[in-house]
């Protein structure tokens, strides 16, 4: 922690070095539909998360708005193409572009998903599940270490929603994710909605999942909506956060303390005000259950 202007803050580089979970407050996913509203209205959002790949373009509106928003808010970079679990070689071209974008954006951190997206050079453009095996852990940890060495920083890895499990699993998902975080040095981006979705689909205890994770590794939380089909749930990110996910979020914070949180909406994007109201709800829960004693990072 450092003192500046009489306010206690967490310096992100120092926090990284010490392993202290930084506090960035409450953020939103930056979506094209809200570009102008964000710039015109300067909403009370502590930070925005961008989809990294959306800004890996040469120029035009995407890069223009990126720079405008970056000049006003801290940004986190969230990717969907790392494919850390794929048995294809790491995409060095992608990593170079990611590093170049990070140099430009200077994000609070970089994140991606614990999944694979393609095989044999074919991209599914989906976040596909891994088998929870020792082989997969060794594979993912080795690749994470390469990625982190290349980027010069630890990244955050997010749990994904899943619809099938594999018969060769040697452990449950929480043990798999926790072991990867411990061995690779990566942090965890905990998607509370994804825990809920997978717990419904596979019949596990969502609270036990959270309890099994190394709490100090959880640096960010995603909150989102889903589509409930009764017998199964699909992670569509096109609905408001439901009551059950809010409740799981509150219990998670009560267990692990304040965690930087954001609302993630990817489809059926509502007016910005609607998402700001959801973010206020998250803030109220956070203030009530696990108030941070730190000011938001500068």
């Amino acid at each position: 922690m450092i003192e500046r202007d009489g306010i206690a803050r967490v310096s992100t580089p120092e926090a990284r070095a010490s392993g202290v979970r930084p506090w960035h407050g409450y953020g939103l996913g930056l979506r094209t539909e809200h570009f102008d509203a964000v710039l015109d209205e300067h909403p009370a959002v502590d930070w925005f998360e961008i989809i990294s790949e959306n800004f890996m373009v040469a120029g035009g509106k995407p890069r223009h708005y990126l720079d405008q928003v970056r000049s006003r808010y801290p940004l986190a970079m969230h990717g969907v193409s790392l494919s850390i679990g794929s048995t294809d070689p790491l995409d060095l071209h992608y990593l170079r572009e990611l590093k170049q974008l990070a140099r430009h954006v200077e994000p609070i951190w970089i994140s991606d998903h614990l999944c694979w997206t393609g095989n044999g050079g074919i991209n599914s453009h989906d976040l596909l599940p891994l088998p929870y095996t020792g082989e997969a852990i060794a594979h993912v940890v080795a690749r994470l270490q390469q990625v982190q060495e290349f980027l010069g920083r630890e990244i955050l890895v997010e749990n994904v929603s899943t619809y099938v499990g594999f018969a060769n699993a040697e452990m449950d998902e929480a043990a798999f994710l926790g072991e990867i975080a411990r061995r690779s040095g990566c942090r965890i981006l905990l998607d509370v909605n994804n825990i809920y979705v997978s717990s419904r689909n596979h019949g596990f205890d969502a609270d036990a999942y959270v309890a099994a994770l190394p709490a100090e590794k959880i640096w960010q939380i995603h909150l989102a909506g889903h589509s409930d089909y009764g017998d199964y749930v699909i992670d569509t990110h096109d609905h408001p956060v439901c009551d059950e996910v809010w409740a799981l979020y509150a219990r998670t914070l009560a267990r692990i303390g304040a965690v930087t949180t954001m609302i993630e909406r990817d489809d059926h994007i509502p007016p910005l005000a609607e998402l700001l109201a959801e973010l206020d709800h998250a803030r109220r829960i956070g203030d009530a259950v696990a108030p941070s004693t730190l000011a938001v990072c500068a």
Binding site: K61, H64, N168, H202, D231
Partner: protein, 270 residues
């Protein structure tokens, strides 16, 4: 023991082409494995289809539901994505449409797709400076013949043989499209203006020649004039050429201006 790479191969094949993933490799959870696998398979196909619809909204409208669906199925099957961003998934759409029936029978279809891809390229092409007309005016007139020009990185020149752009425009305005027919002009010029708005306009035969000369980046202003002289009276060339330049500068699409130092002075153009 199922090796990770085998599991990934079989699951991806299942998503693309149907039953490939052994059910006994799935754990039995609350959701039946057939249902779980079908959720992934449906997502695979619908995501790619949505990407095509997002990039080609007027092509989809022009084809109608049945042909659009036939196209999506054919294209997604023939061209599994090998690109990182869905933004580029449809890059081979125009070529595919020229090679597969019944689409190949109607040249306007592929040309409509090509126009929509040009718009995508214009939207997120690299940024670049824009040179004012005054920069050219400031040159010594003797230097003009050796001047080489370069367009803004967003500028695209699309040759047109059909009225596909007119079809696109009417569909965009939710009007009934005209019958497919020949193009009234040989090409369209597309660019992104200084306010980051995408623009396009037709170009006639003479301007097409001039534009191609600039796009080649090999030819200076004198050569551009020589090429124009093949299609119009020599006396009209200077004013025509300068008129094109003035328009391009006014449209804000000129980014480069190089003056050759080794070219002999040429007749003054004014």
């Amino acid at each position: 023991m199922i090796a990770l790479h085998i599991l990934e191969q079989r699951l991806l094949a299942h998503l693309r082409n149907g039953p490939e993933f052994p059910r006994e490799w799935c754990a039995q959870g609350r959701v039946d494995s057939d249902v779980g696998l079908s959720i992934y398979a449906n997502a695979y196909h619908s995501r790619l289809r949505e990407a095509l619809e997002s990039d080609h909204p007027q092509l989809a409208a022009y084809l109608g539901d049945t042909l659009w669906s036939e196209f999506c199925t054919g294209y997604i099957g023939a061209h599994p994505s090998r690109v990182r961003s869905l933004r580029h998934f449809g890059v081979q759409v125009p070529a595919w449409l020229t090679q597969h029936m019944p689409f190949a029978e109607h040249a306007a279809i592929a040309e409509l797709a090509e126009f929509e891809r040009c718009l995508l390229d214009v939207f997120d092409a690299a940024d670049g400076g824009r040179i004012a007309w005054s920069a050219l005016q400031a040159l010594d007139p003797d230097a003009w013949p050796g001047v080489r020009l370069g367009f803004h990185p967003s500028v695209r020149l699309l040759p047109t043989q059909t009225n596909a752009v007119e079809i696109w425009r009417t569909l965009k305005e939710a009007q009934p499209p005209p019958a497919a027919g020949p193009s009234a002009t040989p090409a369209r010029l597309l660019w992104r203006d200084a306010e980051r708005v995408s623009r396009f306009r037709p170009v006639d035969a003479a301007e097409h020649i001039a534009l191609r000369a600039v796009f080649s980046q090999q030819e200076d202003f004198a050569t551009l004039c020589e090429q124009l002289a093949r299609v119009m009276p020599a006396a009209e060339v200077p004013a025509t050429a300068v008129g094109f330049l003035r328009q391009w500068f006014d449209e804000g699409i000129m980014s480069q201006l190089h003056v050759a130092s080794d070219r002999a002075p040429a007749p003054r153009i004014s």
